[in-house]
């Protein structure tokens, strides 16, 4: 308790616990390890700790990096997160299962279909609800569209960080086409709530297919253009090629998955390794890199756009007829027209909307492949209609740990490029 209760006079500048903790992570002992640190008077040997973010356009949100610099060389990085922590996992515990989907979607706000997919799949595994084939294919179409949209935002903002401004506008132009498609199928452009436990909420409307085919025609061409623009940009290439590589073994020990791991040559992709939602029906390739530098990370993601286009095309060609959501009325709402004629449908509707469905007690961890890596959803049910625990193993959260290993010993400009290629989404990191 401080003595200056009146608050009138200037109080003694005592450091708060927080500030003292903060000062304790400046890594002063590192100075002794540096070669030539004996010349203490040389200003180049001095370490400088700089706060990078949380409000900085190159941190892709509110990521704060405590960077220890020696001149322009990064000696250490401590990521500090939590600025957009909104307690979504706690909120989810207070909602019935079907009402959890909208809040879950808002975690990683660029890949909302993936969040919903991970949660719905986990609940489907707990309840043993089968998703009909058409529902699975529609999910794949939307997941892959979302993957492209997410990669487009990544490409645009990353290029912006590297000094190429115009490509951002091109990327958003194509993303607009995807969001228009989402609006057609679900009525929303973002956070669509399209995926439900047991399938998808509605079948795709008339005209959707034609529009999607037009997009599939345009997209590879446009991706060619992005590649042509960036691969002939000397500045971009110099900032990407050979900067901040990290080998697959270190990445694995750090728990890194997704395009970052594939860029280092490990072809791990859950869509191929452990197919879910009928991914085994489609013919596609897993792009991998060789050395795992920033250029490989860029190239792998750009190549993934083409593969996603291929998957969507096949899913659209082979789209089976049938229901889009499970016919189990205990989990899915009855069709509108039944409500007027069937008493039973009315009861099911009432039960689902008021209480929601009950899930047998148990717990499950279900991973899927999101644009950033393994997105795992852990759900624990206590038998009631609300989950007892929902946890998202968000790839951005885990991948962020690799940033200091990647950047240590390289220039601060390379750090910007690396953070861009890491593609962290702070909504997913902080949840």
């Amino acid at each position: 308790m401080s003595t200056g209760e009146e608050g009138g006079g200037p109080s003694t500048p005592t450091l708060s616990e927080y500030r003292r903790r903060e000062q304790s992570i400046t890594l002063a002992p590192l100075q002794e390890q540096l070669p030539g640190a004996a010349r203490k008077d040389d200003s180049r040997e001095e370490l400088l700790t700089l706060n990078f973010g949380p409000h900085h356009p190159a941190t892709h949100g509110v990521l704060r990096l405590l960077v220890t610099l020696q001149g322009e060389v990064v000696r250490d990085i401590k990521p500090i997160i939590g600025y957009v922590h909104t307690g979504i996992e706690k909120t989810a515990e207070d909602k019935s299962y079907w009402k959890v989907i909208p809040v879950i979607e808002r975690m990683d706000y660029l890949s909302y279909y993936f969040n919903a997919m991970a949660f719905c799949s986990a609940v489907e595994a707990l309840t043993e609800v089968e998703v009909p084939k058409r529902g699975q294919y529609l999910r794949v179409i939307h997941l892959e569209l979302n993957r492209i949209a997410s990669h487009l935002i990544w490409l645009g903002t990353s290029a912006l960080d590297l000094g190429a401004v115009s490509i951002f506008l091109y990327c958003l132009r194509e993303r607009e086409l995807i969001l228009d498609l989402f609006e057609m199928s679900s009525g929303q452009r973002m956070h669509t709530r399209y995926f439900q436990v047991g399938g998808v909420i509605e079948d795709i409307p008339r005209g959707f297919e034609a529009r999607l085919r037009k997009f599939l025609e345009v997209m590879p061409e446009r991706a060619d253009q992005y590649g042509a623009i960036l691969n002939s940009n000397e500045i971009v290439l110099q900032r990407l090629r050979g900067t901040c590589p990290l080998d697959a073994e270190t990445l694995l020990s750090l728990g890194v998955s997704g395009p970052l791991l594939r860029a280092a040559g490990n072809p791990w992709d859950l869509r191929k390794a452990d197919p879910y939602s009928s991914y085994e029906d489609f013919d596609f390739k897993i792009p991998v890199g060789t050395v795992g530098d920033n250029y490989d990370r860029f190239a792998v993601r750009l190549a993934e756009i083409y593969e996603s286009v291929k998957i969507i095309g096949q899913a659209l060609d082979g789209l089976p007829e049938g229901p889009h959501i499970t016919e189990d009325r205990k989990f899915a709402l009855p069709p509108r027209h039944e409500l007027a004629t069937s008493m039973e449908a009315l009861i099911h509707h009432f039960k689902l909307v008021t209480e929601g469905f009950r899930v047998p007690a148990g717990e499950i961890y279900l991973p899927i492949e999101s644009p950033r890596g393994e997105l795992g959803c852990y759900v624990r049910s206590d038998g009631s209609s609300k989950p007892a625990r929902v946890h998202m193993r968000d790839p951005s959260f885990v991948n962020l740990q690799a940033v200091s290993h990647m950047v240590k010993g390289s220039y601060i400009a390379d750090m910007i490029a690396t953070v861009a290629m890491l593609d962290p989404i702070l909504g997913g990191i902080d949840r």
């Binding site: 922590h85 499950i364 961890y365 795992g376 625990r389 959260f397």
Partner: protein
């Protein structure tokens, strides 16, 4: 996924090998094997966590996909820590779970390297999150601070007895009362 028999075999191997390290109340490292919805879970004695993970790593589960917490309130021991392991070459997953009493929720950290083998660097942020959200203390973690909540926050919000929305929002007009400072 290992099937039910495979899970029992893994449990047997662990029981055979983990006898030597500090034997606790029950002695055996594996308390229970749970096979649910096609996925295997080993419920283990908390003292054996590093040994069990090291042995599972030696048998192929080299990727620690996730570390997260769970609260079984009002049952005791209520605080659970769950380790999701993945074997990439066999595409096989196994879950290791331990339960801690809320009186003394302490368990060895698996983050740092130790005498009993290398650690799991990926556990760094994830153990900090479990500490932040559930108050589980990871012994030997070099930097066990809050990660998502503010440093000066009190309580562990993901515990089941922590109320939802029970926190007063500070505005200028209720600054004094909301923060609990005397007038």
């Amino acid at each position: 996924m290992p099937d039910a028999t495979g899970l029992e075999l893994i449990a047997q191997e662990l029981r055979a090998a983990q006898g030597a390290p500090p034997r606790t109340a029950s002695g055996s490292p594996v308390i229970e094997t749970i096979f649910f919805r096609g996925r295997g879970t080993l419920l283990i004695e908390p003292a054996h966590i590093r040994g069990v993970l090291a042995q599972l790593r030696a048998s192929g589960y080299g990727f620690l996909a996730s570390v997260h917490g769970v609260d079984h309130y009002p049952a005791e021991p209520r605080l659970g820590v769950i380790y999701e392991l993945l074997d990439m070459s066999r595409v096989d997953r196994i879950t290791v779970k331990l339960l801690l009493h809320s009186e003394r929720p302490e368990v060895d950290s698996v983050y740092a390297d130790g005498e009993d083998g290398p650690g799991w660097p990926t556990a760094n942020h994830q153990e900090r999150e479990v500490y932040d959200m559930f108050g589980v203390i990871f012994r030997g973690h070099p930097d066990l601070r809050r990660i998502l909540m503010p440093e000066d926050y009190e309580g562990h919000p993901q515990r089941r007895d922590f109320p939802v929305g029970g926190e007063p929002v500070v505005f200028t007009h209720n600054e004094r009362t909301a923060l609990g400072t005397p007038k």
